[in-house]
Amino acid sequence: MLILLPQAIVDGILLGGIYLTVAMGFSLAYGVLHVIDFAVGEWIMLGAFVGLTFTNWFHLDPLLSLPVVFVIFAAVGWMLQPLLQRVLSGSRGRPVLMALVFTFGLALAFRGSALTVFGIFTHSLNTALSQGSWHVNWGSFFLTIPLIRLAGLVYALAVIVVLNYLLKKTDFGLAVRAVAQHKEAAGLMGVDIKRTSAAVYGLYVGISAMTGVFIGAIVSLNASMGPDLSLFAFFVVVLAGMGYLSGVPWASFLLGLIQSFFLIYLNPSYVLLALFTILYGILLISPTGMFRKGV
């Protein structure tokens, strides 16, 4: 089965691309706002359903809905953040725990509402890319690259590049990094903490919702899809090191590759067991993530 080696690598990277799309917004929210947002899967789910609604109304390719979905959800996130901020900065004890409970509540409310509004059934976003794939042959080696998965990976990498530019090269990014480092000091230096935090949360919600459109196109969407995605986002981010944004792609690809190799070469029945054993192993040796740069 050596001829499957290139395919195993490519499948692993593409699968990692899916994890990357799910985890990057989550990591941003934690890195800057110190919020572990357990509603990330539900933001993704809602984004997917808005993409589906857009497609059904206008009969256009779902990928064309990406800007619309981003704008809608960025606005929602922007408006919601002050509520979260209130929970986080209240004078009551354990604000971090309160924020966790708050996002958990959001997740439940979103899931319940989606079940009521959109129903119980599984749907699929069918784009022009859904069915295409590239085939490459070198002698006995060959490769199949599904276009929609490749598009998902390109989207994830593009978001990472844009975020990197935004955070490292712009005044807004300077403000965001300042807020992430020391909120009070940043405030004293003239950074508008409320606006910056709201913008970051909006960005995160917008990105997650766009991810939903890709997930709906690559796999499928239904109102109960959120918790699994939140769990994977959490694991990727923990593996990368909580709050260490640059580690997220590598952690995602690692998870994807482990999964792909296990499915192809070892016993598929134990793939999740293997995945989590490796994850726990890494965390035991290096509790701050695989790069030892998390918090």
């Binding site: 593409l14 499928s220 029945s269």
Partner: protein, 416 residues
């Protein structure tokens, strides 16, 4: 709170306690039927299909005033217990319905795993349950005295479909078979595997996977093996994802069979033209020439009634079997002729009546096996093989109920 406040609370609690104690001893003027099914969680889709089936029956029987016992009609009240798609929750729902609600009988869960968890609890309380959905052969092997089912086990229905394929002139010679790791899906995959080996189809790969696993790497590996047949045991979402993976890597086997889930309308809606030619196993469609002696007179009458109630989704075999489960209780309760509430002796007697029941319904013949590996499952039906044709399910075998000709091999994804 002031001291006086506490007294008021205590008095109220006492009053409530007294009502609870005295409540159940009063004669009821209705049958209380518990429903345990998945109303939330991963299997909520299928769970609500069963709920629709049970609701339709209750509505129909109550429209006639209820079940007649000794000249008086007793309406039916359904009391729901959500099992949240988890076996442990199914057991506690059963406990609650039995101990607190004191139901007379129970209509059972959507999934096999939850049924297996609820059944022992109902043995303890001696409450008869009919499931209109669960299909794992494991349930019947346990020989639960109080548990019955209207759908034959999956090894019976699934194996029939593989045999039809094997009998084709250019039939499949090789297969890869996968199943998800839950009670029903695993049983389906195992049924596919053992039948394939029996009829001489070589099984190249057989694996049970964790739920919702991304199938791309597996299917890439399958593509190299180039099997004639891909058989998969799973639930709706996983089946949709599998077809999407196969189209993404552009691999079309000669036949793709997936048992339950392809008959759910959501399957064809989500996949569009790529749903066509996928095979499934079933026991009922709206076009079967059945004659009902109780409730709906024909399969078509039921299908029409179902669409009138739920216009968006036509009834599938699980919904029909769920409504039929209600009809079976209705027939058995009339024969038993004991007014509600049923005490333990009456409920045990009800089991004896159920074992002897021989009922023709819109869903087909219901007669429960009373011995062997299929103990208390419905032995009255003939398995059907269905194929999605033009976005709808059509029976392709056996020949006497076929609505369409079996398309084999499948049209490649990129030529549709």
């Amino acid at each position: 709170m002031h001291r006086k406040g506490w007294w008021v609370v205590a008095a109220l609690m006492l009053a409530l306690g007294l009502t609870l104690v005295t409540g159940p001893t009063m004669a009821a003027d209705e049958f209380k039927i518990g429903v345990i099914t998945s109303l939330s969680g991963d299997l909520a889709t299928g769970g609500s299909v069963t709920k629709r089936g049970y609701d339709l029956w209750a509505k129909a029987v109550n429209a006639q005033g209820g079940i007649e016992i000794k000249g008086k009609k007793y309406p039916v009240r359904l009391i729901y217990g959500d099992d949240q798609s988890q076996p442990a929750q199914a057991a506690s729902a059963a406990e609650r319905l039995a101990a607190q609600e004191k139901v007379d009988a129970i209509l059972g869960p959507y999934a096999s795993g939850t049924t297996l968890a609820a059944a022992p609890v109902l043995e303890k309380y001696k409450i008869p349950m009919i499931t209109g959905s669960a299909e794992s052969p494991l349930i019947w092997k346990q020989k639960f005295r109080y548990t019955f089912g209207t759908i034959p086990p999956v090894n019976f229905t699934g194996s029939a479909a593989i045999k039809v394929l094997a009998a084709l002139p250019q039939g499949p010679k090789t297969a890869v078979i996968y199943g998800t790791n839950d009670t029903f899906s695993k049983a389906t995959a195992e049924a596919f595997q053992s039948t394939a080996e029996q009829v001489g189809i070589k099984v190249l790969r057989f694996n049970i996977l964790p739920p919702k696993q991304d199938m791309t790497p597996l299917m890439s590996a399958a593509k190299v093996l180039n099997p004639d047949l891909i058989a998969f045991g799973g639930h709706d979402e996983e089946l949709i994802n599998l077809v999407k993976v196969l189209t993404q890597i552009n691999f079309t086997p000669k036949a793709l069979i997936m048992h339950y889930g392809v008959t759910e309308p959501a399957f064809a809606q989500a996949l569009g033209k790529n749903a066509n030619e996928v095979l499934g196993a079933s026991v009922w469609t709206g076009s079967l020439p059945t004659k009902g002696t109780l409730g709906w007179p024909t399969a078509k009458a039921y299908a029409d009634a179902a669409v009138a109630e739920y216009p968006k989704d036509p009834a599938d075999y699980t919904q029909a079997a769920s409504s039929a489960a209600g009809l079976v209780f209705q027939a058995a309760l009339s024969q038993l002729a004991v007014a509600p509430p049923l005490d333990e002796a009456a409920r045990t007697k009800l089991v004896e009546v159920l074992e002897k029941i021989d009922l023709q319904t819109f869903y087909g013949h219901v007669k429960f096996a009373t011995e062997g590996d299929y103990y208390h499952s419905n032995a009255g039906l003939t398995p059907l093989m269905v194929q999605i044709t033009g976005g709808k399910e059509a029976v392709v075998a056996p020949a006497d109920s076929a609505q369409a000709k079996l398309v084999y091999p499948m049209t490649p994804w990129d030529k549709r």
